[in-house]
């Protein structure tokens, strides 16, 4: 369950962003749309606790993010929020398996080999588990990024333009995977995108309008 109220972020003395209130029930999914520069990514980063709110409230599963200190926020994010970026941004020093295992470690959990291998099988990349990142296609890399985001069974999955650099076929596969995995985890899924191929999969759409105020 997720709800936001009067979320406001001020970057410097020149610009500030206000975001619409949002309420998602358990396991509800939505797409976040808006023109470039409206703050979709900023909103996702605020929801993930990567940015501090200047005012307003974000409540995830009855936890108000503002109430956490930095260490608590990092732990909460690791255990409850799965993040997927436009580019897969996997760690090239590690192989496929280790990239996923790293997410478990950083969330303070014990490495669960069985769980990781099952997930990689589900995402059809099990055979690649010991391969280096630079040997993978974009579609495969994005699937590993999804595995990394899902391995800790998060309650909220945030994806920022996850299909922007993919072809139609891979974009469809990734969208299906995200939706399917979110359902399996009973997690809320929010995808920020202006990709029509993805928008079509969602019933609920939250639009962010350009509301940046120039103060000086």
């Amino acid at each position: 369950m997720l709800s936001t109220r009067n979320v406001f972020k001020k970057f410097d003395s020149r610009s500030e962003l206000r975001f619409p209130d949002m309420d998602l029930k358990d396991a509800e999914q939505c797409v976040l749309v808006g023109d470039s520069g409206t703050g979709k990514t900023t909103f996702l980063h605020l929801l993930a606790g990567l940015l501090q709110l200047d005012s307003g409230k974000i409540i995830i599963n009855e936890n108000e993010l503002n109430q956490f200190n930095q260490v608590q926020l990092d732990r909460f994010r690791g255990q409850n929020i799965g993040l997927i970026f436009q580019k897969s941004h996997l760690i090239s020093a590690l192989n496929v398996y280790d990239n996923v295992a790293l997410a478990q470690q950083l969330a303070g959990q014990t490495e669960d080999r069985q769980l990781i291998e099952d997930l990689l099988r589900e995402l059809d990349i099990y055979e690649k588990r010991f391969e280096k990142i630079n040997t993978l296609s974009q579609g495969q890399a994005q699937r590993i990024a999804i595995a990394r985001a899902l391995i800790n069974k998060p309650k909220l999955i945030l994806a920022d333009e996850p299909t922007a650099s993919l072809d139609d076929k891979n974009a469809k596969i990734v969208a299906h995977l995200l939706i399917g995995q979110a359902e399996r985890c009973e997690a809320n899924l929010i995808i920020a995108t202006h990709d029509q191929r993805v928008k079509d999969f969602f019933d609920k759409e939250i639009r962010i309008e350009k509301n940046e105020d120039v103060l000086a």
């Binding site: 900023t42 970026f85 020093a93 790293l102 990394r148």
Partner: protein
Amino acid sequence: MKTFSLSWKYLWAKPLSLLLNVVLYGLGMGIVIFLILAQEQLSGNITNNSKSIDLVVGAKGSPMQLILSSIYHVDYPTGNIALKDAEKLTINRFVKTAVPLALGDAYKGVRIVGTTSKYVEIYNAEIETGELWKHEMEVCLGAFAAEKLNLSVGDEFVGQHGLADGGYEHDEHSKFRVVGILAPTGRVIDQLIHANIEAVWAVHQLEENHEETEQTDSVTGVNFSQLIPSVNLHSVDSLREITSLLIGYRSPMGAMQLPRYVNQKTNMQAASPAFEMARLLTIVGVGVEVFEVFAYIILAVALLSVLISIYSALKDRKYDLAVMRALGASKSTLFRSIVMEGMMVAFIGTVIGLCFGHLMIELVGFYMGSGSSFSGAIFSNKEVLVAVLGLMSGAVVAMIPAYELYKDDVSKTLTAD
């Protein structure tokens, strides 16, 4: 996957950079370790060999030369002193022990020391095979000398004049016979051939007589060599000389009185091993310090190299670190991971340095022969300190770029692309 494993995988991802850093670090650390071991083993050797010898009395000249030639057997003697003068000194009230040395001959570069059995007592040496020399022309070999010369009990040899290898051979009638071999002590006695002091006089006396006979022979054409009587040593006591006298004091007062007495009231010279060796170590120490500075410069360069490589690696990994933060890593977790990388480089470099330092000292020992006191198997307490400091420097150096993490804005980095 633990922080340790993550740090190692990041290092392993750039093997050439890792190799350069650890080799550079290992080289600096190796030189530091080598200098520590060399200095300790050298000063240990110096102290060990001059233990129980408070004063050396010999001919006037350089006191250090006197010490080096009479205790360490690495330099030429300053000259000889009259036996009667030396004998007078032995009855001085400050003298507890006095061991005479007569140097001047060698065999294949190994010095022959004319002395008494008290010389063996100074070094607590024990017989391993055979017995100590008793009669004229009997010799007892130090362990290393026996090994080097490949001599065993019962073998005979003719000494050579002079202390270096290549001197002319003495008369074939003056053959030495090996009667004993000493057990190894790790001290200078291992490297010497020990004989009666009378034997050294006899060899030279025989030679002088022989030369006189040869001269007669050449003049008259008659061979007198069979007629040469055995040397009567006691008939020429007043002319006899020794090289030096190793003295042990009866009481600490001896240190105050005896050297001054010898230097001022006799035509001999007294030199204190402790004082001269301290002086020598100070002189050698200047050279060691230069090497030390050099080693620390290499270490500093290695640390700088570690710093630069971690800095540049962090620039490349800025997004990785931001992603890890997004995955729930705290700043302190990432800080630890980066510091661990610096410590790993320092640890591997330190291990390489320890091996390198010990290998170098072992090679020096090997090059100098088994009689050398340098050994790579000896460890020093200072090494532990240096290794700990080395590890800490690796950590401190890595902390500098790791600190930059605290300034990073994760959100900005993630949206920078």
